[in-house]
Point group: C2
Chain length 205, copies 2
DNA sequence: TCAGTTCTATAGCGCTCGCTCAAAAACCGG
DNA sequence: CCGGTTTTTGAGCGAGCGCTATAGAACTGA
């Protein structure tokens, strides 16, 4: 039997939850905040998702899929290797500076907020970070095959540096959301991809 | 008049507060948690510090002074430029992995947790990060004067990269506290400091 | 000794939290 | 239309939160 259908669009309320969680985090986003922004009442939220944490996991999964994976795929389509890497950071910086609100990347936020002994969230975060790292590895591997990056650059290590830098940008963008600063932070890392002669442009105090 | 003296050692209780805040953050560390770990009762805490936030600011200041500044100074004393930079990251990684608890660097934690519109905490975090950046700048400047790093390396940008990487390590160490992974993340950034011939050692899958 | 001052300790205030119960409302199949 | 199922709704529970009122304990100066 079908009975009464839900009165809200599941994707839209999940997007609202993503927004609320991104701004406040899992712990600080209250059920009442969430329900308000999602446009539904508390008990409906519980009826649909069970508990706050389950809602968070669903929102995180949707964020990873709709925001992260889609972005990575689009960048790989639009830029020949290794250009997608620089484009990725440029877009990440623009995203971090978009809007007056302190949104931040939900994956970075979760990595910081989750207790490392929380096996479920830790595994999710590790998995998502691994996907991002693989994006870097794919790009670097293709670039090396075309001799577009230095031959002695260790792809595995470099991709880890980029992941670490991505996380650092997420933190830095909260403390100091200034475009020039964030771009300067990324620049030396991208210089690693330049083939000799090493032309690392100076810039910006 | 002097009246009844305090029955606790202010430094010791502040250290306990640093520990509690480092593990739980400003918002999640409750007054009862703090009071318990500090070994004093709630009202004594309020009598001594006024409010939770003021206690946090005092604890953060002590952390920055006793943990960060002292560490930077010791490294600069112990290592000729630019070796202090690599030593700094090595020590940071070891610190992050020390103990089963999820302590994390209080400055990184605060940078993530504080609302960017919170002027006081944002300014404190920016200031502390600036001090760390200056440590990198000093080291790089001295190293350049001795021709120990590539001459075309932009010192300002590189020091920002190191700060960003430090923040990233703080996040990554929570999600994946594995020494080999953290070291591999730092390695390509330190390779920027090597003078030609560029020998970036491969390593670690 | 004892008034004066400061610190400590018990209890608890008002509030928000995650979550739930009971009843009303909306929809389906027949 | 109606029985059955699900969703929505308003109210509220117990717990924990930051913080404090109040009273007693500890110490100083005189």
């Amino acid at each position: 039997m079908m009975a009464r259908p839900k009165s809200f669009d599941e994707d839209k309320v999940l997007d609202a939850a993503i927004d609320c969680f991104s701004r406040n985090g899992l712990k600080s986003a209250s059920i009442r905040d969430l329900a308000d922004e999602m446009g539904i009442a508390g008990p409906s939220l519980y009826n649909a998702y069970g508990c706050k944490r389950a809602l968070f996991v669903k929102a995180l999964a949707r964020y990873a899929d709709a925001a992260v994976r889609a972005k990575l795929a689009a960048l790989e389509r639009a830029h020949p290797a290794p250009g997608a890497i620089a484009a990725f950071f440029a877009e990440t910086i623009s995203d971090a500076l978009a809007g007056p609100e302190a949104r931040g990347c939900m994956i970075v936020n979760t990595a910081m907020e989750a207790d490392p002994r929380d096996a479920e969230l830790s595994a999710l975060v590790s998995g998502y970070l691994g996907e991002i790292q693989e994006f870097f590895v794919r790009n670097l591997t293709a670039a090396r095959a075309a001799s577009l990056i230095p031959g002695d650059l260790d792809i595995e290590d470099a991709s880890r540096l980029f992941v670490g830098l991505l996380l650092g940008l997420g933190v830095l963008a909260r403390a100091r959301p200034e475009r020039a600063l964030l771009e300067a932070t990324v620049r030396p890392a991208l210089a690693l991809l330049e083939t000799a002669p090493r032309s690392r442009r100076r810039g910006l105090s």
